[in-house]
Amino acid sequence: MSMDGQTPETLLSVRDLRTWFHTFSGVVKAVNGVSFDLAQGEIMGLVGESGGGKSVVGFSVLGLIDPPGRIEGGEIRLAGEDIAQAPEDRMRKIRGKEIAMIFQDPMTSLNPVHTIGKQMDEMLRLHTDLDEAGRKTRCIEMLESVGISQAEDRLRAYPHQFSGGMRQRVVIAIAMLAHPKLIIADEPTTALDVTIQSQILKLMKRQVAEHGASMILITHDLAVVSEVVDKITVLYCGQVVERGDVRDVISNPSHPYTRGLIDSIPNPDDRQARLKQIPGTVPDIRNLPKGCNFRDRCPRAQARCAEEEPKLTHTRDSLYSACHFPVAAGESA
């Protein structure tokens, strides 16, 4: 949100994105018609269960879809420029400079045979025109700002000499080095312990705010999302089923899937003998049912759901939901 009351500028606009994987056993429509907007300075959570397509959305924006996957259609506009079908040499300039990424596993996203200093320096060499001394100063400042002490010495250390939480700090430092406009963080704290997770989430939120950047936080953990983001987009079987401001989505979602997800989290303030559960499992994405993808697991499903695919429409408050029979405020699924 901008402070002066003006409409904040849209940084990223995704329209009808379709990323499909052509496998021997059929076409996997991992992302099938996803649209969303992200304003400058905004943090959006992209949530859903495994197989929902949330990571594929992130990879599509980064232009990191490899065969047999392909972006079949749709637009990805970054500050007005459509990068959905941009050539690789253009994407190389965008990745790191305009869009930075933070992945789940900090051990595999750092190169084990190079020092931290070399990996940080590479980012600045590619994306800035600083000289060697300037780059080193920037690296040290950045490491200090993510809470790594004795930064100058630590530049000479290798990734294996850091703990998991420290490695993730290094990854964040590298991501922020070139002052990107957009950060895509894919399950950044899933591999970390809860006390370290809370440190890292606070750090990411502060860094994003300080640099005036926007962030897409991809996670399966609604509790993590609810503490960090401004708005939430919920994916199921490669499609957006609900989106809205974080408070509305968490406390009063209108799609039965979101309601079910939130109800199946044990709530320490209101302990029930049994948890509410969503019956069944996610359908095979190569062989989706006709009509609504969620209808086989949905307690509200009726004949219409088997016939007609629901479109994303405004339901109430800030919520948009793809459901023929949306949940009313305060109602359970």
């Binding site: 408070r247 989290i265 302990r271 499992t281």
Partner: protein, 339 residues
Amino acid sequence: MSAMLDVEGLEQRFHLNPGFLDRLSFEGGRPRLKDLVVHAVNGVSFSIAKGEVLALVGESGCGKSTVAKTIARIYEPSAGRIRVEGEDISEYGHADLLPVRAKMQMIFQDPFASLNPRQKVRDIVAEPLLQQVGEGARAEVADKTEALLARVGLNAEHAGRYPHQFSGGQRQRIGIARALSVNPGLIVADEPVSALDVSIQAQILNLMMDLRDEFGLSYLFISHDLSVVHHIADRIGVMYLGFMVETAPRDTLFAMPRHPYTRALLSAAPSIQPNRKSDEIELTGEVPSALSLPSGCCFRTRCPFAWDRCAKERPVLQDVGGGQSVACHLLDEPERDTL
């Protein structure tokens, strides 16, 4: 009546065998070979009554899974006693353990790694029982297997399939059926729902609670997820660096955590409930290495209240009433608790 499980002073140390040069050090000019020992569990005691669910929580490396695996006698304990229904199994050999397996079974975290990919589901579920009753009773075992699969929500058609044909949640159901096949009184469950999506996690937790009521099971439930633990446990033990720092009944622990680490853990846990946090101890730094434990209190390097006594003297669990025990020097000097 004796407890279902009674653990006393359990210790587990792992000797690392690094190369000669890694172990070599010089002290005052004289060469010396160090012995590298991971102190995974350092004197943990607890007991579980019949039908009770005890959860052990803590962060990675706190020794909770090692406790589970040592109790299941996958590891040999370095010291301490493990009694199952009063029977001391801590020094049992492989053959002695077979009858114990009928009383105690385990459910594992990874539903992909814990099922043999080359066995059909019916054979996976039947195996523990066949070990107990012998090959002669195959027909009865087959009937029981079918009944068990139905009980955990799988059908007869599933019995002839292989593990790779199932989703994570279904595989965990197979693991549960296998554990139940011998009618055990105690199930040691090591992070049974952490690999599952939240909607599937709720299904499995509900199943485990139903089975407890139906068969009168006791669970030793290992988890890092406080909201899961709050849902399933009757009593909770909090571990840090191989030590038990606090044990308490569930509601007491969540309402009145006493140990600074428990308080930090509760305040760090993300929650979908806004403004739920009352106590806010924010931890800095990271867990020390189990290769060289800090002197005195294990938590002092990250504790906001630590003073010189904490470095000198190791606190022991003290009963503070209401079934709660805490290992912290703050109990003696509460005025130092400045929050």
